[in-house]
Symmetry: C2
Subunit: 373 residues, 2 copies
């Protein structure tokens, strides 16, 4: 997978939400329930046990209401107006498990669904819907010790402002003041921001649950904004990593090491990212081999053995994607890396594409491998 | 001000956003700029130096687009469609300084402005706009040491879930591990949630700036959700404090004291709240005199001297509101409290009503008084 194909994969995923085409004769089971990502008290949108989504929008005198979720390339789902002025409709088929961004087109304008919570994606706050997944337990809010997610504002001379990051500290972080932790710097994708991994990714709950089950050692996760140079549609080809690399390596990492109980060493510092964040991870880890020792690209490109100058500095390479992306590329790259003597691991999320369910699962697989010596 | 009038004031403020009526002959200065609360890169809504707001909504085939901000009781601001299908309009007069919630009515349905960020108010995520204030410097993001705002998930047996709170820790909290801090428990208003004080209130920036200027001692602020019993419109009359009081006093406070470096004593614990949060503060502080020693009601009711059984347990009473609310009530109550020997302080925010600019200013006035012995 070359950088260009990342751009394509990313753009397509954002334009055409993934719905499995089915014939209209498929029987829809009438067990619809409100999406778990609805605003408090809102009954719609709803999802059923098959993964169909149903929408209900009040706009009595509108001429047309469409939902962007639906069969790719066919304009999403067109809602029909009932006699009481409410627009309703159901996707033509079941959707992939997990999280999906969407929006409404009402009389030619793009708006959000007033029933749904908003999530930053596509360079705007989009509506979000959650299709229950068979494995949703791993990111559920459970009665286990919880880590905290804190907003930090760190000084950035290179961009002349205070920048925001979110820092996950594991359960017990505030209690044992002697303990120090390794750190994963984890990046969002194109059009998203530093809220994505906590909000739609549930990174904190994934970690809380893994730690409660004894499946991973606790570590800190730092999530900041990776679009420092205002990438426009199609602009990834001309992407200049320098501004973000400066913010991350010269400003954020020293701040985190000074203000959190980190193990401030290359050997205990990882970088990972999804989609565009994978592209950033790949470039920065190769540029800065003395800063990071563990690399993770989630639907975000590959490493070739010859990309890496000093093999001894790399402790882990993790490559993943959804089965609906290009899993052969990920698997072949890991085979080549292993053949060259790297500690490389591939993961393919079954039945998902270039969406957050792939990346939630990838984080679940990645975390236990990261700092396990 | 009795509890009933709080309900009225609150409801009116939420229904009719505050715009100063002016004749249409007032000259509008054409120096409109994007609101500072717009989504990244969005040009509209805009505000000018007089406080007028201008909106621009794309909905080419809509029949009607209205903005809820405008002259109270007259349906807000009706936008007009230009030949390119874009709806534009300007408020009939300048708006009060500070933050305002709003929404759009498009062909009879309620939606948010795709240009603006969203803020939780009126039991939904609303659009928000910021009218530059003459004193906005006190909540500006400046190049000073910043505290962190962290999301905690604390176990709540009484509601059988993990509940969310945000905790502001002052700059340097993570560095000096020996230092312990007093705590302010700070509540939002009706229809808002635990995000309000950080998002639209800028509580963290207000504290960072006060601390940088040496105007307040550092303390921790804890903000959690106060509508545990799902208050509906007009339901405040039947409000039962018990569920929230249990969450706050029996669950959240012990969790915070166990997980943060607090001074876990009544003498170093304050409670404050705005509007409905003031009502909650009043009730809980009177019910639990051994838990809190400092009370703050921001546009949220009054204390009478006879309300308080043991004067020796109360170290500070702070009452505030906007000059467009009922400042005489606040002033008279403080006079009576002082006459009875209480350390009581009133504050009236000039030119503002039942909105967040009043409460931002109130926090700025309150913080230096809270733990100043």
């Amino acid at each position: 997978m070359k950088q260009y194909s990342i751009v394509l994969a990313l753009s397509m995923a954002l334009i055409s939400p993934l719905v499995v085409a089915q014939t209209n004769s498929a029987k829809i089971i009438e067990d619809f329930k409100p999406s778990t990502l609805n605003q408090p008290g809102k009954e719609f949108p709803q999802v059923n046990s098959q993964g169909y989504a149903r929408f209900r929008i009040e706009a009595p005198t509108a001429d047309s209401v469409r939902v962007s979720l639906g069969l790719g390339g066919k304009g999403g789902t067109k809602l029909e107006k009932s006699s009481d002025g409410v627009w309703t409709g159901t996707t033509a088929g079941p959707m992939d498990e997990g999280f999906h961004y969407y929006n409404l087109t009402i009389d030619g304008g793009k708006f959000n669904d007033p029933g749904a919570l908003n999530f930053y994606g596509s360079v705007r706050w989009e509506s979000g819907i959650e299709i229950p997944a068979h494995d949703q337990d791993f990111y559920a809010l459970k009665n286990v010790p919880h880590g905290n997610v804190q907003q930090i504002l760190f000084p950035s001379k290179s961009t002349n402002t205070s920048r925001r990051a979110f820092v996950y500290t594991p359960p017990g972080y505030d209690k044992d003041q002697a303990k120090r932790y390794p750190v994963l710097y984890l990046q969002h994708g194109w059009g998203e921001d530093e809220t994505a991994w906590s909000n739609q990714g549930h990174a904190n709950l994934i970690m809380d649950n893994l730690i409660a089950d004894g499946k991973t050692k606790p570590f800190i996760i730092v999530m900041t904004y990776g679009m420092t140079n205002e990438i426009k549609w199609g602009g990834l080809k001309n992407f200049d990593i320098t501004p973000f690399q400066t913010v991350l390596v010269d400003e954020l990492i020293p701040y985190v090491d000074a203000n959190f109980r980190t193990i401030a060493k290359q050997s205990h510092r990882a970088m990972g990212g999804l989609s565009m964040g994978g592209m950033e991870t790949r470039t920065i880890t190769l540029n800065k081999p003395d800063v990071f020792s563990r690399y993770a690209l989630l639907s975000g490109g590959l490493y070739n053995p010859e990309d890496i100058k000093d093999k001894s500095k790399v402790k882990l390479i993790f490559l993943s994607c959804g089965s609906k992306e290009k899993p052969e590329g990920v698997k072949n790259a890991v085979t080549a890396l292993k053949g060259a003597g790297f500690n490389a691991v591939s993961y393919v999320s079954e039945g998902t594409g270039h969406e957050f369910q792939t990346w939630r699962r990838s984080l679940k697989e990645l975390a236990p491998l990261l700092f396990n010596e």
